[in-house]
């Protein structure tokens, strides 16, 4: 659900602006989650003092940063915004800038006929100053005049037309928020324009922390007052503490990496030390721009993967890394998108599919044989434009739409050519044959460049010689150490 925070601009016992916010909260509770923030205890702003000294300011900044949009309800004092509201904005435009890039809707209630017209104008001017840099919804002024008579005893607005107008404006604000959230989306016009140095901050980018700092995680977490340990996080769909999230992600069957839409490497599930990972990452790398974790010569390839995902050309790109008789490591790059279909980054899964294949063969009493009719294919899927692996006339060619729906049907028998990006993983297992390597190699590990050697050999048959191993990537000694394969082989 869309999350909004509301701030009533005056402090004191009774405020029609707070009543107005409460009405908005209750009236729209089925579609919007509005939390009203209390600003009564915010100290007087002083630029000599650090906001970190004040937990009230902290909390306000954190809640605003976490909201999709902000509603400010302002009365008018002396032809301007109440000092209490201005005071809050000053705190939120000095060391922290949670309103930066945030969609804001101004409403106002007042005793008399002017609504709070002058205060609203001043507030707009304030919010658009560079230190605040909020996006105020234009037009649609909501001025509730004669506030004393406007509310019924139960706090609802008496006038149906006023409520109707409020509904129209809320609807517009919901759209406005979507538009605003798209504004900072990086928009490269070609793969070459992908910014591997992460110099186009998005609304989740942590400002003013050096991305290459080995302690980026610690510093960025402190800066953003990040939840940790036993703090609860509401998810879609579930509720976990940060600790529980870590248990969960760190016990995943594959290695996961998150690079955001600014091409910044911001997370991996730390399942093991780098030496024991299929695609080694080290804790100090987190926070780095993707350019810092890739050798120059693979950068253009990585850009092609990112661009294909960002533009929706593909929803998944997959490619093999270390391959051999006992190991077939796949890298799956999935586009992550928000509810508006905006690209929010790449989810990389690195997983050895050989144990799965071996289990399947053992469980069904089958073995691998060469397919004499196999059509050569690129081991890389989802990058048609790059590899030319699937002809454009191919009716099964994955496009963004079918790819998205295909991801729900990975279990269906694979009759389609293996060029289908989303079902490629299951096809290998089902057919029990794999086409020989065909297309040009692409350097693996688009996210971190941990594997620097191209995956040349591509073969899964037991008799074939092991493929050339990527030099910097230590392969596990044998699959016997893998608890999963061990079980199926015994």
């Amino acid at each position: 659900m869309v999350k909004l925070v509301g701030i009533a601009g005056s402090i004191g016992e009774q405020s029609y602006n707070r009543m107005l916010l409460e009405f908005i909260r209750d009236h729209f509770k089925k579609t919007v989650d509005v939390e009203i923030l209390d600003i009564n205890d915010v100290p007087v702003f002083n630029e000599d003092e650090d906001h970190n000294d004040n937990p009230v300011v902290h909390e306000l900044a954190r809640k605003i940063a976490g909201a999709n949009g902000v509603i400010l309800a302002t009365p008018e004092h002396n032809h301007t915004v109440p000092a209490a509201m201005k005071n809050v904005i000053e705190w939120l435009s000095n060391n922290v800038h949670p309103l930066d890039g945030k969609a804001v809707w101004i409403v106002g209630a007042s005793y008399h006929t002017q609504g709070s017209s002058r205060a609203q104008l001043h507030l707009k001017q304030i919010l658009e100053s560079p230190g605040v840099n909020a996006y105020v919804m234009p037009g649609n002024e909501f001025l509730l005049s004669n506030a004393k008579e406007a509310f019924a005893a139960d706090g609802s607005l008496k006038d149906a037309r006023t409520v109707g107008f409020l509904e129209i404006v809320m609807k517009k604000f919901l759209t406005f928020m979507k538009v605003i959230e798209m504004l900072d989306a990086p928009d490269p016009k070609s793969a070459h324009e992908e910014d591997m140095d992460s110099k186009h901050p998005v609304n989740t980018t942590v400002p003013d922390v050096d991305m290459t700092d080995p302690e980026w995680v610690e510093k960025a977490a402190e800066k953003m007052h990040a939840a940790s340990g036993g703090d609860y996080v509401k998810l879609d769909r579930g509720l976990l503490t940060v600790d529980q999230l870590n248990y969960f992600l760190n016990s995943m069957a594959g290695e996961l990496t998150f690079a955001d839409d600014n091409n910044q490497f911001i997370y991996y599930n730390k399942t093991a030390d780098a030496a024991h990972m299929l695609a080694p990452r080290t804790p100090d790398q987190v926070g780095d721009p993707l350019s810092a974790v890739h050798p120059d010569r693979v950068i253009e390839h990585v850009k092609q993967v990112l661009y294909a995902l960002r533009t929706g050309e593909s929803d998944v790109v997959s490619m093999p890394a270390q391959t051999g008789p006992n190991q077939h490591v796949m890298h799956y790059y999935r586009a992550m998108r928000d509810e508006n279909r905006r690209y929010r980054g790449v989810n990389e899964l690195v997983i050895d599919i050989m144990p799965i294949l071996k289990y399947y063969l053992a469980a069904t009493g089958q073995k691998l044989v060469k397919d004499p009719d196999a059509v050569p294919m690129s081991p890389i899927t989802g990058l048609d434009a790059v590899t030319g692996a699937s002809a454009h006339s191919d009716p099964t060619k994955t496009d963004a739409t079918s790819g998205a729906s295909g991801s729900k049907s990975v279990e269906k028998p694979a009759e389609k050519p293996a060029t289908d990006a989303t079902s490629g993983a299951s096809e290998s297992g089902n057919e029990a044959t794999v086409a020989p390597a065909a297309a040009e190699p692409i350097d693996t590990d688009a996210l971190t460049g941990a594997s620097e050697e191209p995956a040349t050999g591509y073969s899964a048959t037991e008799d074939d010689a092991p493929a050339k191993q990527p030099a910097p990537t230590p392969e596990p000694e044998s699959t016997d150490t893998d608890a999963t394969t061990g079980a199926s082989e015994s």
């Binding site: 005056s10 004191g12 007087v44 702003f45 630029e47 301007t80 658009e128």
Partner: protein
Amino acid sequence: MKKFVALVGTNTVKSTNRKLLQYMKKRYADDAEIEVVELKGLPIFKKTKEVFIPQQARDIAEKIDAADGVIIGTPEYDHSIPALLSSALAWLSYGIHPLMDKPVMIVGTSYGTLGASRAQAQLRQILDSPELKATVLPSSEFLLGHSLQAFDENGDLKSATESQKLDGLFDDFLEFIDLTEQLDNSKKLHEQQAASFTWDNGTTGDDE
């Protein structure tokens, strides 16, 4: 000799507006007695049933009552005046009206180029509101940009152009005070309005 209260619009120790007001106090010592008054310590304005006004605000109001005019030095925070100054003006119009028909001169400094131009424009609007109704010196912007570099080690303005401009404005202000003495028609009306003042009757532009 005329007496002035000079309000420092911010609470920061490094305020260049305070520097400017102290410079004016020194420079015009032969013509005027300027007392630089701090707003630091004033709480954020808040209405109460008891119409409580902090003692610091009452003290400032007394000083303003006893003065011939007020000089306000404002920086610009987020394209407007600091909440502290806004709060002070709210206290100074909450059941007390020391600024009503009081001649006011606005000056402003900023670290950047613009010299608090937007804050000054808003301040004029605020001082013109019915519950304040100060008499602001017209056509008199003094915007001191790049204020961190503007003063020498004695606290004097380095730029002769700027100091001459300020001299001219201050001379105008002295004459303006004498002129406003004659504007007593609207003064009576303002006093009547002030007498019937409440924050709830809808005449004040306030909401609660």
